[in-house]
Symmetry: C2
Subunit: 419 residues, 2 copies
């Protein structure tokens, strides 16, 4: 069997399972999630043994320590996965929810209800926990899913998928609803992304290269999650007791995530710039500054590297921030318009008029006033579960909760109505 | 300038205009729509002269009469366009609408509000009225739009676009918000569909070839509108006084549109099949029947052609219907699952249990009980304006009203909140 045949066969099986899965009750779906949690705990030794194989291969291939850490499962991580499944089971089920309903004067009645998307194709890198998280959210929302993680995590991911399937089988539910691509060629991903009619949406999660490849190849609709070149604009009237903690938090609390701040725009007349920059440096942040910033702060010359053009568009995901001094709100807005990735942007100011202008004009999934960009997260938003943060404008924007994996349909009931 | 440069330049100009257009008030946008209506009436003779050029060229190139009819504008059609602009101006503005709002226990407050998508790329065929309809709906929802119609309607479309731009200019609004692609190579469309970052969504409207080409080429998200291979299932218990008018209406009232019925599934024990088939034939409908149907109705042999495999997947858009006799609801559901394009499907039955099963199991944008599929239409749904009927599951499904051209963003206000 060619890899194309094998991918098509798996997608077809997923589609058939999706039809059945879409009609399950909330109780059946939650029971499945709880059973999967139990199965993961029971299969822990098998799963960790598979993970050891992946780790050994990756170590042999000289992957860096940070990579191995992301790849590693252990007792605690398996426990965490099981707990997250229990939490997901406890969340409300969006499927069947009535989104709208109305009746025409002639008696024709309309209901718009929430339904599953169908079959999700999920392409991701490194962390094996995504295998469980993605499958669980898909099942909770009545969808089937075809998974494809990175090759380095293959044994682990297949072992996790096998546990899911074992759990579904034991409940007499269609195990084909969760599948891991068996073809391991890179081209198998391209095939998956062009199976319109079988796959309803493709979700790539990983670095910019992966996402760009999928966007270029896919003829199936793609939900783009992602890159966050997030800006903080500290206005002339910013309260330093708010601004300094916000900037430090947004940059340093977890620099490797997409909602971390990457750029700092300082109003040229804000009196506390020196203090802020000194505190950032003290927190271990490398500062890359524009010429005006360096000119205004000769006393900080030893802390301020020169920013290059490339800095303004770079998502460092590290303890680095680029700093630009701007003349006013307009210059800040212009800079953000030019360099924003549409993820999260913030203004820190005591001027409510300027705050309102910023909130209105900035085109991003989340726009903040006097708060850290780090709040752009499904958990912080209160969504209970999160499936990534969408930086595109169609379907879902910002943190994607359970409803992002749903569609709707109209049910129209008449009594012989004709047009 | 190459066609690529020219397309990029127009898209860039549209994006800049979109930023300004997004911030206009409802009153400014409605004034623009009314001004465009007035301008169309003032420029009628220029527009009709341009249309005459297109008609003459198309006639020279031996286009069929039906094609010329679709291409033709006249005084009445210009009046209709102006009226539709006035009606659109009177509709509520979805932009700025609060979709959700909540506050956390720590005081951090969240608002999700409706915003424009940005820049729409619209690729369409034949009817020049789409130029006005699409531009007007885009402007009403705060978006910019780059238009590309068929080459046969080029003079007409450019003349209509010039009238729009003239109207915007006279109100001192950014006329670049509506553009017609000047590069007329086919490749210009491919370029438009790959301008991620400049174009936010591509909407193709036309035949299956156009739509497939765009889906294959585009790296920008596509809203697929479309093909309707709509089924009517007449159950054993169907009331003939409802079933016969519904089938006749769904097939014959306007056969060339996507919500017209294309397939008829008859329960083998429904007692009124002969009467229905005879009435369909009397209404001028060509009947293509499965072997069982022909076997059950030897007396109708002269009316029943043999259906081929291809019939079950063909959207005729004509006075033709394929008829299959099925054993029960399950067989009907299976047939629909296999052949549905996800547009509109209907059951006609007095059995509420079967109706509920059908409404739950069928995966389509609109699912009907005892009503004609012809109601799948923005106007019939009460949306006021319609931008096509989506047959995909993400972003918008079914008739797309004004909100289908919007996205949302989260505005988050704190008081120094950090995570």
């Amino acid at each position: 069997m060619t890899h194309v045949d094998s991918v098509v066969q798996q997608a077809l099986a997923a589609k058939q399972a999706a039809r059945k899965w879409a009609l399950l009750s909330t109780e059946q779906k939650n029971a499945a999630l709880r059973k999967i949690a139990q199965q993961l705990l029971e299969n822990e030794s098998t799963i960790l043994a598979a993970n050891e194989q992946d780790l050994a291969a990756a170590a042999n291939n000289q992957y860096p320590q940070a990579y191995l850490d992301r790849l590693r499962l252990n007792h605690q991580r398996v426990l965490d996965l099981a707990n997250s499944l229990e939490e997901l089971a406890a969340l409300p089920d969006p499927i069947g929810e009535e989104v709208a309903q109305w009746q025409r004067a002639d008696g024709l009645s309309f209901r718009q209800i929430r339904v599953p998307l169908g079959v999700i194709g999920m392409i991701y890198e490194a962390r094996p926990n995504v295998t469980i998280d993605a499958a669980a959210i898909a099942l909770k929302t009545g969808n089937a899913i075809v998974l494809r993680g990175s090759r380095t995590a293959r044994q682990t991911n297949q072992s996790l998928t096998a546990s899911i399937q074992q759990a579904l089988r034991s409940l007499d539910l269609p195990e084909e609803a969760v599948q891991y691509l068996t073809a391991d060629q890179r081209e198998a991903v391209d095939t998956l992304c062009t199976l319109n009619g079988l796959i309803d949406v493709i979700i790539p999660r990983g670095g910019a290269d992966l996402i760009n490849r999928v966007v270029k190849t896919s003829t199936v609709p793609v939900l783009v999650t992602g890159v966050g070149n997030c800006h903080l604009f500290v206005d002339q009237s910013a309260d330093p007791d708010k601004a300094i903690p916000i900037v430090i938090n947004a940059k340093t609390s977890r620099p490797a995530v997409c909602n971390a701040a990457e750029k700092l725009l300082l109003h040229k007349n804000w009196p506390y710039s020196e203090r802020l920059l000194t505190e950032l440096a003290a927190a271990g942040v490398q500062l890359r500054a524009c010429p005006l910033t360096r000119e205004q702060h000769p006393e900080l010359a030893h802390l301020l590297q020169s920013a290059t053009d490339a800095d303004w568009d770079t998502e460092y995901l590290d303890l680095i921030i680029a700093v630009r001094t701007v003349a006013d709100l307009d210059e800040a807005l212009q800079h953000i318009e030019q360099h924003s990735t549409g993820h999260s942007e913030a203004i820190i100011t005591e001027d409510t008029g300027k705050a309102a202008r910023f909130l209105g004009a900035v085109d991003a999934a989340a726009v903040y006033h006097n708060a850290s960009t780090r709040f752009t997260d499904g958990g912080e938003f209160g969504f209970g579960a999160e499936f990534g943060i969408s930086t595109q404008k169609i379907h879902a924007r910002g943190p994607m909760g359970l409803t992002a994996l749903t569609s709707t349909k109209y049910l129209i009931v008449g009594n012989g109505h004709i047009r």
